[in-house]
Amino acid sequence: MSDTSAIAEGLRAVAAVPALLSGFGVERVTERDGLWFERLSISGGGRVHLCSNRSFGDASGEEIGCFETDLAAPRVDQLVRDVQAVLPGGPAPNLSPGDVRVTLSVIAAGARWERVVGGAPPDLEPYQPLLRTLDALAFEVRAHPLRTLAMELKLGAPLQAGEQSVPVTLTFENRGTAGYWLRNPSAFADQETEHARLWYAPQPSVQPGMTPLPPEPTYVELEPVARADRPLIWIAPQSTETRRFTAAVALDQVPYFLRAGFAGYDGADTVAGQPHLRGCVFSNELEIEPRR
């Protein structure tokens, strides 16, 4: 029996026997390059869980972390039907490692089905009924933060053209109902997996009827005003933590985009049993024009 026939049989059983629904599960794992990872899972009991360590839009300012909510039973039933609608799935994709890889997996009545999807629109098309439902659920669950990290960037002084050291404030916010440990940005040595950086790029000049070249940002390391010894900071539920830095930037007399980036990938997912939020988040975007 193929995995498709097995899962089709499993889904029929789950739809027919309510007792089997509690073991039903759908998971979507989205990942890229070892740095981006997001897991969305929905259980037969209706629990929706989303964990993201970095926005796939990258410098989008989107918060990361874990989110959780519950679905009403009819929506779980609909999810079962959405899975049935995409069977047997599409042809094997040909992804490059630079592509975002999406893995769909389903368990129903002991049958397991897994597909890697992605690539061009024709590759995705066979999965769209399920993918669109999952996109909608991912959007919904983000309204129910469990442990989240968003970052706000503020500049402590107006920027001027030329070289300067700018005071920068980063505020880390947890909108969730649970706290977590976070790598302390005031204790970082700048490296790929652990850093606090200020990214900036001249704004492209926009001419009507012409698509501008994308900005090509550069970054400088954010130097903590007071370097910390302790590697972790506690971000309590529904609270903020602020840290002060300076950034040595060299700017021309043109408008700029600016964002801060925080990466804290090192370590495990827990510290002495307490949650440890790992990943990368970007701040809000500032548009500035340096003064002469």
Binding site: T30, E31, R32, D33, G34, E38, S55, F56, G57, D58, A59, S60, G61, P91, A92, P93, N94, L95, S96, P97, G98, D99, V100, R101, V102, T103, V116, V117, G118, A120, P121, P122, L124, Y127, Q128, L131, R132, D135, A136, A138, F139, W199, A201, P204, Q207, G209, M210, T211, P212, L213, P214, P215, E216, P217, F257, R259, F282, E285, E287
Partner: protein, 474 residues
């Protein structure tokens, strides 16, 4: 008496016997051989073709009394002769025999092997057993050094191994074995198409051997390009096609600011904000490469961009520097990760005989037309993929894609995977922690398989052999 020109197998012992001398020293120490003695130094170092002066014998007069018994002792010169290899030419791994004759008593005899053109410090110390005036030594050739260090190195495709007695006072002819190696081979092209997971890969590269180093040339054909995005707006109620985007419900889109996320889409007339409530996700938007064709900007996977992109200088210092950095990155990823050695070569790792290095040399060659195997290079820092590299992307993608040019499949789910790959971290073709895997990290021995195959082809083509080669640990 005319000089004697040494023939194969002759030593001063055989000459002393032939010309009736009780001691070979009588010949060697004669003033007529002072030049030869100075040239060769030792009696066991004379070579075939050396001219030996045979001195005139001196009469010796003895006055002996009558009615007495005398014991006359005639001295017999002792030494080794007819020392010879079983073959004239051989190569590492061949089995050869060194045999000789002697009038030394039964017991052990030390012989010395020495590389003539280049020292081979790892050559064996040979002790043979003399029995009934004969001896022999079987040797599987190894540890013959063919490469001299230096900058540049000097290769010796032929090394003469001279064998003689280790004791310089024991006369012996010098037996010479020519040990051959392939140090250089002319360029050949690897060109192979194969299918993994239903997807065809075209691997092409040139390889030659120079001074025991495989020089691997990979040419990447690149095309000046621009990056755009398409977004699937079906869930927002958008249908049909517009603005040159070929997929129903999809539209061309572009970000604003530093984010990669599309902020606006082209509705067929102009750029408008994304529909309210629409949330871009990993599966509903994707980067696409565009190249210029006439006045149009054509998508690599179909469609045309709805307006011109701002032009840029592909060969500016900035973008040339990006390609230069990629070149360095790729070459470092693939150069000298593992030596390639003949299977069965037992030589020490300090010896170069069947052992070859690898130097990767990648070149970006600009083309002006799109086609198969063309990589599009675009400004920006969006996410690169196989055919579209963003020049602001710092990932190891170029080194990964070069891996395909040397015949390696992907090693991550969803790629062009060869499920028969296993071992050394790979299970059913998947190994996250390698250059062909999702994390694009280290090179593994299996990734050299095409270079190994070419090494065998180049070496065997030159030597006429059928040796197998393998990548080994350093």
């Amino acid at each position: 008496m005319p000089d004697h020109v040494l023939k194969d197998g002759e030593s001063l012992v055989t000459l002393a016997k032939q010309y009736g001398f009780g001691k070979w020293q009588t010949i060697f120490d004669d003033g007529g051989n002072s030049a030869l003695k100075s040239k060769r130094g030792q009696v066991n170092a004379l070579l075939v073709g050396d001219s030996v002066f045979i001195p005139a014998k001196k009469a010796k007069t003895l006055s002996l009394g009558t009615d007495s018994k005398y014991k006359v002792v005639i001295a017999v010169p002792r030494g080794v002769w007819n020392l010879a290899w079983s073959v004239d030419k051989a190569k590492c791994g061949d089995k050869v025999t060194l045999a000789g004759e002697t009038n030394l008593p039964d017991g052990n005899l030390d012989l010395a092997l020495k590389g003539r053109e280049l020292e081979s410090p790892k050559l064996p110390k040979v002790t043979v057993t003399v029995k009934a005036k004969k001896f022999s030594y079987d040797w599987t050739i190894k540890d013959v050094q063919h490469l001299k260090d230096g900058s540049p190195t000097t290769a010796f495709p032929e090394i003469h191994i001279d064998a003689t007695t280790a004791d310089s006072s024991v006369p012996c002819n010098v037996a010479t074995l020519s040990v051959q190696a392939v140090s250089d081979a002319d360029k050949q092209t690897f060109d192979k198409r194969q299918s993994w997971n239903g997807f065809t890969n075209h691997a092409v590269f040139d390889q030659k051997i120079q001074r025991f180093v495989n020089l691997v040339d990979v040419n990447l054909t690149c095309l000046k390009a621009w990056g755009g995005t398409h977004v699937d707006l079906t869930s927002a109620g958008i249908t049909g096609t517009a603005g040159g985007c070929p997929w129903s419900g999809h539209r061309w889109a572009r970000p604003k600011g530093l984010s990669m996320v599309p902020a606006e889409y082209h509705d067929g007339k102009t750029w408008v904000p994304l529909p309210k409530g629409f949330v871009p996700s990993a599966t509903n938007y994707q980067a696409v490469g565009f190249y210029k064709s006439g006045t149009s900007f054509v998508g690599a996977s179909g469609g045309t961009w709805p307006e011109p992109f701002t032009d840029y200088d592909f060969n500016s210092a900035t973008y040339t520097s990006v390609r230069s950095k990629w070149t360095t990155q790729i070459n470092a990823q693939w150069t000298d990760c593992f030596p390639i050695r003949r299977v069965g070569c037992a030589s020490d790792k300090s010896v170069t005989c069947c052992r070859y290095g690898v130097t990767m040399s990648v070149a970006f060659n600009e083309t002006t037309s799109f086609g198969a195997d063309v990589v599009m290079l675009a400004p920006g820092a969006l996410r690169s993929n196989a055919g579209l590299w963003f020049m602001g992307d710092t990932s190891n993608m170029p080194a990964h894609e070069t891996g395909h040019h040397i015949d390696n499949p992907d090693e991550y789910p969803g790629g062009a995977v060869d499920p028969s790959l296993s071992g050394d971290g790979a299970k059913a073709g998947i190994d996250p922690d390698c250059i062909m895997g999702q994390n694009m990290t280290k090179t593994k021995k299996r990734h050299y398989h095409a270079i190994v195959e070419m090494t065998a082809k180049l070496v065997n083509g030159k030597s006429g052999g059928s040796d197998k080669f393998e990548a080994i640990d350093k």
